[in-house]
Symmetry: C2
Subunit: 796 residues, 2 copies
């Protein structure tokens, strides 16, 4: 992809873009356990571009140096404005609007006239165009026009407008045509700079294609060979399927049936007639399943996974070198010669830090300088300067205990022996166990019949027990720590309980007022009640590890959500154009003669109608999405495909086969590859420690605290001991000098596979290594990084 | 596992055991492209034990040194006899007989009286006992009794005998009891020393269990929570399934249905009633599928794969160190002091080599000595001695062209210009293309209706064209090279064609004689005809690579065959005891009233009967295996489980769920892990080269030829150029001195993941490294080898 520094930066920071500028305005000091979300994304490198811009701004003396973009204050302001979260939120808002238009257009869930939807669409297109023009303003022209993304967006806007006009004018003279440009809408989602992750997934798929193509051809060849064999073996036997239709007589039908068998969807059924005829024929099907279902499908996974790994490594290497490259550029802008080496003067360094992080406290700045300028020589050398971005990303905490507000307001009461007893009780393990038992008893009550009045009273009892628990915890622990940003389970607890309380009260009110209970509210209450049971898991350490890993990879899984959304959307639009209103769903109580054949006589006696799949149709976007989800799960997809083939044409099966290939063979395998990789990284992290150069240095200076020391549940207890440990440690001047400021070191807490891998890679580049030139970085190909001599550890 | 050197050797060489002793008796010299199968298994270390024994034998002066087993000539003979292929074949034969007894016992495919089967079983048990006694003779007592394998076998023999006696005497008084010991039969297959691979797979499963258990519990918890939710959400709605039964009203049924949904087997069906009732309920099922089907199943794969890798690495490290350990022991037996270092004298070394490989040619021995004793100092130092086993495993080829026999017999005719033209023609690419086209045309003819006489004549034409092709090739290429051991596709071609020829002739004869064509022969002819099409793949390079990889991992896949066999056998025996004759299959043309309900009125209106699954039953071993295969494929397994639950008891579903957990969650995932690993190794090999120390040395001495230079199809052509290259190379004295003997270096041809990984690992142990002491080696645990600092290449 041809694009340079200025533009790549938008890629790099897209993930954390919502929180990014907000982050640089957030105050660090004073708050224990305050978590800065963007810095949490670890090695994601959110600040290099800011630093480079700031360096250009600070070094106004050297204003005319050759850097590839404008650095006038306006340009910088424009750039900051482009990256401002409101602008990005607006873009996403318009993308959502644009995509959800399909809900209102024919075939619609909520029909709106064509005029209304087309006006909204034009509005969205204008917004996209505006965003693009803004982007062009902050990017060098050459770079802008070289980028295929921008061209894509413009082309899509033009095509959509043409389609709108053509469709509108044809509609005006009552000719119905196809709104084909609707399938292009996901282009906006993919191509806006903020969707780097989705693009990466698509690139990953594109790179996998050549490798997978050969395996796929071989696989097709195998299926065809088996089809030919089946035709010869079973075609003339006069066998019948369960439904009485002839069995394996047409080569195309056979090929389709055997393709379905690969997905296992028709597994024993397709074999039964031949098996009933002669037991030995089962060998044919067993051979087929072993070769095509087990071996070929595993090979597909292997190919996809292998490419995913290669590609991931390449992207990470690229990012790491780009980051290094930008920092060197910034250094070159600010450097002055002192003795034999080039350095950055302390004053310049301070100005730079202040520009990049305007709200940084002076003690924090002092600490950073201390780490950067070890010898206190009044300047920062190149190696230390290159680490500045990482340094700014490391979280700084102040070691001071926050006292409980109640302690501040009424110290006597709070410190009374009764109060202390309560606090000790709440902190005790038994307190947790008691509540675990309560939850389990609650589970049994939930399973019982709730129309029994005794049980519905019990529900109130449980609810109040939970509320008491929360109040007791708030009494014991400092509320702001209790609701710390990473205290996922505390938030979960409180939200579930409050929601349950509100819903239960609402339901009771409605019930007593109108003698009628609202189904929706009741459902919500039920789900909330059962979700409460989740808390038992958290008490068991082994479970918590697994759940934490799953929650940690959650955000990255949203990438797949985006990917799936794009593919589903395109297939849904095509499906809606091709199949809408061919299949109708009638209310089960409705006794129309057509209800059993989904309103289409062609479905008479079909498996589709017999299984009552009428509601699986393409009559609106929501139904189409649910149908596509069912196809993704694979089972019975041949029945669905067969049904739609009956109401249209046999060729419709190609649509379903295509969907299977794209979604199940490509996307689901990438998803599995992603989960595998995430778990492997989690496993290898469990046993080892990755330290970056900075982390080592901070440890040497003795100004870091390990993340684990300030972990979840035990935070306040830990804090106490830690504090007393420090007060006994008064002799340590170095620590005192830094006024209780410490770096939080998060070595075991990398949230994403990416961040961790980047850390690993960076810890392997030598500090002097300036990396390859920019052009080369941008053209890295995955095959470059294959090790010449794979090592043992490496390959197994 | 407590066991020492002598016994572990049987483990190490089990895979290649059939060919091993045969191999050491095979003559090396003279034959170009002769492949020694045991040496092909790469780093499998077939000779260390032989070397150690031989060293003890050679060093008779030092006879009384402390080595852990007897080395009298008888003992060695007994040991060789134990390892002789006839003995091993006999053991496998008896294992097969024992396992296949289930075919003849009630419920039998071919019923035999109890007396007959029990006599055969006693015979097998005697054979196993004999083998065990023999093993005890060649193993130190202490070691023998410490080994759980031997205890297992003895216990199983005793238990089987008890069961036989009890069952027999009860049968005599007409009380029918259960032959429970039949489920123990696979113990013999697992526990005989030759089944190292299957045991390893079982160990791998056992080691995975603790990790997987926690994920599984969490998964169960999730399923139960969703069940509870489903009960509350749908239980009171009065919904009905397609079959009219109440929908989601019983928590146990719900849990089973949701477990089935994880396997996707009832995918849209289980959702349809709720979805028809209210579209929003689909969200519940989509959430369930994402969490349990996609995420949890991927996590299972990740856990299994991770453990598989760890375990594999550990085993390989163990093997490599054991090998090193044995070679050091052998060195210590033979060493004498020369100057400051210990060495082995040339005379001793020669005797040793002669004992280990009695048929080694003197020029080959010279070459080995040359590599081992570089400075020609008359003795071999320790480092070189340690490599002896590898050195003996490396294949030696003589570089001389074999002339075509026809050329020898009638040189004038063979070298005539017409003959040369034919040869050039056959070697030309176009010749291959022409035959590819012929095959494709043949494919079309096969697809056409064969009752047309023109088409059946065409079949004769194609057959003769193929025969002509083979004859031409044999005329052009040297026949022994054409049928070289690795010329898989040549063998394939010829066998397919000859078989097709024989079968077609036989069919025609029968047809013309009796006006009746035998179905079996016709089927075979058809399959052979279609298999011919496979040859097209070989012409396309990219396909050949994939196919070759698949064929290469084929033998290792047989391990999984063994594993699956063991698990299937146990489940089949249990299933046969529990479900036999509950479900009957009637011929489709038979019109008994019970035929439609499989002879069991309990199945009336069940999905089992409706789908005509009557032949899926446990009435004999073959049917049970096919049914278990269908359960492995997963689809419709709930229908099968439901059917058997109806005819027995709802608890029968546990059997099916258990089977799913064992086979699909554990074994199929290990299979996928294995394929992934094999492909990754194949990929990393494609781009890199692994060289062992010896290979480097051989290269330095200039006495190696790269494997690729003498590859498949092009072998004879290559030979020519290579030969002329050498004749122009006369000045090279080193080569001449070695009389045309060269080492074949197989660096890119490691057949198995194991062999390759062992090579990689060995190339990483320093030559001086003596490895940890034996006890430690035997107790290596996988967690020892986790890298302290995972590297970037490593983890991604």
């Amino acid at each position: 992809m041809g694009c340079t520094a200025a533009q790549l930066c938008f890629r790099c920071d897209s993930l954390s873009s919502f929180g990014r500028l907000g982050a640089s305005k957030q105050p660090f000091p004073g708050c224990f356990l305050s978590l800065d979300k963007s810095s949490e994304s670890g090695g994601r490198a959110p600040r290099e571009q800011d630093l480079l811009l700031a360096a250009a701004y600070v070094s106004d003396a050297q204003y005319n140096r050759n850097i590839p973009f404008e650095t006038s204050p306006q340009a910088i302001r424009l750039y900051y404005f482009y990256n401002h979260w409101t602008m990005q939120a607006a873009t996403y808002f318009f993308i959502c609007i644009d995509l959800s238009l399909a809900l209102f257009e024919e075939p619609a869930l909520f029909p709106l006239p064509f005029l209304a939807t087309s006006i909204v669409e034009v509005l969205c297109l204008t917004a996209f165009l505006g965003r693009l023009v803004h982007f062009a303003k902050v990017t060098p022209q050459m770079v802008f026009w070289k980028d295929t993304k921008n061209i894509c967006i413009m082309l899509t806007i033009v095509l959509t407008l043409i389609d709108l006009i053509v469709y509108g004018s044809l509609e005006a003279v009552n000719i119905h045509s196809v709104r084909w440009s609707r399938a292009l809408r996901p282009v906006f989602l993919i191509n806006f700079p903020e969707s780097r992750q989705i693009r990466r997934a698509f690139r990953s798929i594109r790179n996998t294609l050549p490798d997978i193509l050969y395996v796929f051809l071989l696989f097709l060849f195998s299926v065809l060979m088996f089809s030919l064999m089946a035709l010869k073996l079973f075609g003339d036997r006069g066998l019948k399927t369960v439904e009485g239709s002839p069995y394996f007589t047409n080569i195309l039908d056979i090929a389709f049936e055997l393709y379905v068998l690969v997905t296992t969807a028709n597994s024993p059924d397709v074999m039964m007639p031949a098996y009933d005829f002669n037991g030995w024929y089962s060998l044919y099907f067993i051979t087929y399943i072993i070769i095509n279902t087990y071996i070929f499908m595993s090979v597909f996974l292997a190919v996809v996974y292998n490419n995913y790994r290669k590609h991931l490594k390449n992207e990470i290497r690229k990012l790491a070198y780009l980051k290094r490259h930008k920092m060197i550029e910034a250094f070159n802008l600010l450097k002055v010669q002192v003795g034999t080496e080039f350095v950055v003067k302390e004053a310049q360094w301070r100005r730079l830090a202040k520009v990049v992080a305007p709200d940084i406290s002076s003690s924090h700045l002092e600490l950073l300088l201390r780490v950067s300028d070890e010898g206190q020589k009044g300047h920062v050398d190149k190696m230390n300067f290159l680490r500045l971005a990482d340094l700014l990303n490391i979280q700084v905490v102040t070691i001071n205990i926050k006292r409980h507000p109640l302690e501040a307001w009424m110290p006597r009461v709070y410190q009374s022996s009764a109060s202390l007893l309560v606090q000790r009780m709440v902190r005790h393990r038994v307190f947790v166990w008691v509540y675990d038992v309560i939850i389990l008893v609650n589970a049994i009550f939930i399973a019982l019949d709730e129309r029994n009045p005794f049980i519905s009273y019990a529900e109130w009892l449980f609810l109040s027990l939970y509320i008491i628990e929360i109040l007791l915890k708030l009494y014991t622990y400092e509320p702001r720590s209790y609701f710390g940003r990473r205290q996922f389970w505390n938030w979960f607890d409180v939200l579930i309980i409050i929601a349950a309380l509100v819903a239960t009260v609402a339901n009771t009110t409605i019930q007593s007022a109108r003698k009628y209970s609202s189904q929706q509210i009741l459902d919500i209450v039920l789900i909330l009640r059962i979700l409460r049971l989740l808390r038992v898991i958290v008490s068991i350490e082994r479970f918590r590890v697994i759940v934490t890993t799953l929650i940690n990879i959650g955000p990255a899984m949203l990438t797949f959500g985006g990917l799936v959304l794009v593919v589903y959307y395109v297939f849904a639009i095509i499906g809606m154009e091709a199949f809408h209103s061919k299949v109708q769903f009638f209310d089960p109580n409705f006794t129309a003669p057509d209800a059993l054949v989904c309103g289409n006589p062609a479905l008479k006696d079909s498996a589709f109608a017999r299984n009552r799949y009428c509601k699986n149709n393409f009559n609106d976007l929501a139904s189409a999405f649910i149908l596509l989800m069912e196809l993704t799960v694979v089972n019975q997809w041949h029945v669905l495909a067969g049904g739609f083939a009956l109401v249209t044409h046999q060729a419709a099966k190609l649509y379903f086969v295509g969907f299977h290939i794209v979604v199940v063979i490509l996307i689901v395998n990438i998803f599995i590859a992603f989960i595998l990789e995430a778990f492997f990284v989690a496993y290898s992290l469990e046993k080892s420690e990755v330290e970056t150069a900075i982390e080592k240095k901070i440890q040497e200076l003795g100004v870091g605290i390990q993340e684990e020391a300030v972990q979840d549940g035990k935070l306040v207890d830990n804090m106490d001991t830690r504090d007393s440990g420090f007060s006994g440690d008064d002799g340590d001047n170095k620590r005192k000098a830094l006024k209780g400021l410490y770096f939080r070191i998060a070595s075991k807490k990398y949230r994403t596979v990416d961040a961790l891998l980047q850390q690993m890679f960076e810890s392997e580049i030598a500090p002097e290594d300036e990396g390859p030139p920019l052009d080369e970085i941008l053209n890295f190909s995955p095959s470059d990084i294959c090790p010449k001599n794979p090592s043992f550890e490496n390959s197994a």
